[in-house]
Symmetry: C2
Subunit: 439 residues, 2 copies
């Protein structure tokens, strides 16, 4: 019998494919070669034909697609917990913005991004959709770590992060497009920050650019009541309607937060197939509000999950996010059957892949897709006994149960040890910047 | 210089005392002898006078009082995740109660309790207030583990868990009182399950017994809207008012859940100094509702934190609970300054100790109090950098950061390894019962 050489075999796992039939293979195995999934099965005979270079034993582990985080400000890692329990505008004006002005340069963004990306990996994340400044440094860090990213330079009308204003930010965005046009793991988005930081003219300019280059649009939408009320006062329409009138919306848009939506707004987002990035914990912690998730769900809007930045969250745990999302919206709707575990687990996997234009490549474990896969241990006392892996993912486990992360078929973390980054160096650097931050 | 022999020295920690001044000692140390705290300081000279038998190096760790969980059904460990995403009554009638009837006996309760207590320790818990059946078995498990407990036999009017009804449950309760009257770590409560499972006569009987023996009363209060509405329909008053008219309430009461409270109910609970046990995640997951936390807080009701049982939660993480509590109630009250980290951290520590009548002994790190202390690692990448330990406890960390647990000055867990229980035996037993459960 001739053996097929393959790069990696993951075996003995409880495989949750998250494919359209939500197939689960207990005691399943996955053959991976050249970055792609070659075969998925639980037939022990069939497995014999493969001769893997590496084998990962996933006994007592869930094996599933890696998480995709659809709204981050990853370079804010060093701002984690710098200021809490404050009103949004005090927090921004007195703490975050002054510190950003003082601290941000290429070197800071690179190191803080590297730190944040290390956290992403520890939280089982294989791809993130980022909006911040000096994105080339974040992209460099993502490439070093081996993590996929969509990089968007936050567009604002006023001077920020070393920029004198919008035009220099757009110029930087153009250079990003050029720089990463052939990258297999880095995509570039255009990221107008919000309707309250971008003029109509700016929004138009960005929209035209996105059409010209075929790029994803990533924006904050209707995060706070103030944003909603100001929009009504200033424009006579909601933030969603304002952007709709500019012809902004399409299935190539990620609308982060989307807390303050009218029923008409929801209809607009549904009709235009806009992707929503849900940021539950950030919205709770900043008291921004509760987004109308059930209505959006009923209108079949593509719902994805995100963490927001650690400055407002304060961690990058997708498991905590889906757990909180599922529970909070059960209570809000007086319905414990709403958002069952098998449903919400799609938010940071297949739904997120679709939102970022990667549905054919990522978001589920299927033959021919990229092998972006995580394993999650269920053998700790706190997780035993286990009757349903979906239940445990959403209601029982935390991110420390995530043991292995493969991206493009390459192990990035094994048994919680990062393989592409030096953990001690990253921690030492964090301590160095922490001191600088407090100077 | 004559040296003082002591049992344990915890040193180099970020000590959060949770005393009335919320004193924090960076690079602090704690001298422990014969189960008690002897000295707390950050004076390096002063430390020299102690000669400890054991030293715990708490560098890069938070050192704080262990958590006290004020509402558990710990012997339900084996029911964890057995059924989810269901309406409360389907869940109880079709899943939990039939399984309980089939499974519960002394042996099951002992082993499932042992499992649940192992989980409690892994979550940094030093004491729990339990309501379930066959409580002597739970007490035995707690004693074996070295964890403090208040044990209450759930009183219901109908046959349950091998009992033919109320009187046999009360008889069992009397035997518990006798059995544990001299125990240094086990207290006994009387635990009428709720107003919808106990008749007025039963409630009266239990109340008389509690007065006779000077015992804590522990009950479910106003958990669901149905309970509230039924009480109004049947008695013409709310559950809280009904119990008040029986003279049930005092500062020796733990009212678990307390979701459906009118303003008058809150006034009653405040006036009678009743302790509330908040069960945020359980209330969200079962869609029971949001308790009026801010109003209770403003009326200075003693608020404590609990997890409820793992069948409805589905873990015993106090860190997740306080994090969710703080964030959800910020959002509900449109106020990000409500329940800051320094406030909510009192719920599962000093407030809980007070609720269980242990304010002089537990709940804070103070000279003369029992040494029930945990250490929490802040040196992982996900926790770096750290600007405030309170912020990290509530917004950043998860229970896996809890490394050491001391109860009564005795190490129960060191570096996440249980010292009083055999982890493999507990896991094997869980797998055995899991199979039985599915037969």
């Amino acid at each position: 019998m001739k053996l097929d050489n393959i790069d990696i075999l993951i075996e003995n796992g409880d495989v949750l494919t998250i494919n359209s039939e939500m197939e689960r293979l207990e005691n399943g195995w996955i053959a991976i070669n050249k970055g792609k999934v070659v075969e998925i099965s639980n037939d022990p005979q069939e497995k014999q034909k493969y001769q893997p270079t590496h084998t990962i034993n996933a006994k007592n582990k869930i094996v599933m697609p890696g998480f995709i985080n659809t709204h981050t400000h990853i370079a804010m890692a060093y701002f984690k917990g710098l200021a809490d329990d404050l009103p949004l505008y005090t927090w921004l004006n007195n703490h975050i913005w002054p510190k950003e002005t003082a601290m941000i340069n290429d070197e800071f963004v690179y190191h803080s991004s590297l730190h944040g990306i290390a956290e992403l990996i520890k939280n089982g994340t294989v791809m993130f959709n980022d909006m911040y400044f000096r994105g080339s440094e974040t992209a460099k860090a993502a490439i070093k770590a081996g993590v996929r990213a969509v990089i968007g330079e936050g567009v604002l009308d006023f001077p920020v992060a070393g920029y004198d204003g919008r035009d220099s930010i757009l110029k930087y965005s153009l250079s990003l497009i050029e720089q990463y046009k052939d990258s297999p793991t880095i995509d570039v988005s255009l990221s107008p920050h919000s309707i309250y930081t971008c003029s109509i003219e700016t929004l138009q300019k960005v929209l035209d650019m996105s059409k010209k280059y075929g790029l994803l649009l990533h924006t904050h939408l209707a995060e706070t009541k103030k944003e909603f009320d100001d929009s009504i006062a200033q424009h006579g329409k909601s933030p969603t309607a304002l952007l709709n009138d500019l012809d902004f919306w399409s299935d190539k848009c990620i609308a982060a937060h989307s807390v303050w939506l009218t029923d008409e707004d929801i209809d607009i987002l549904a009709e235009k197939k806009v992707n929503i990035s849900i940021n539950t914990k950030s919205n709770l912690k900043l008291a921004s509000g509760f987004m109308p998730l059930k209505k959006c769900f009923e209108k079949k809007i593509n719902l994805t999950q995100a963490t927001d930045g650690v400055a407002s969250n304060n961690n990058l745990s997708i498991i905590e996010e889906i757990s909180t999302t599922s529970k909070v919206h059960k209570a809000l709707n007086h319905d414990p059957t709403f958002l069952p575990a098998e449903q919400v687990i799609k938010f940071p996997t297949i739904n997120a892949a679709k939102a970022l234009g990667k549905k054919e490549l990522l978001g589920s474990i299927e033959v021919g897709k990229q092998a972006d896969i995580i394993t999650i241990d269920t053998d700790e006392i706190e997780a035993q006994p286990i009757y349903s892996p979906y239940s445990h993912l959403v209601y029982n486990l935390n991110s420390n149960a995530i043991k292995d992360v493969l991206i493009n078929g390459k192990p990035i973390m094994l048994n919680r040890q990062l393989l592409t980054l030096d953990e001690n160096e990253i921690k030492d650097r964090a301590k160095f910047y922490q001191k600088k931050m407090l100077e």
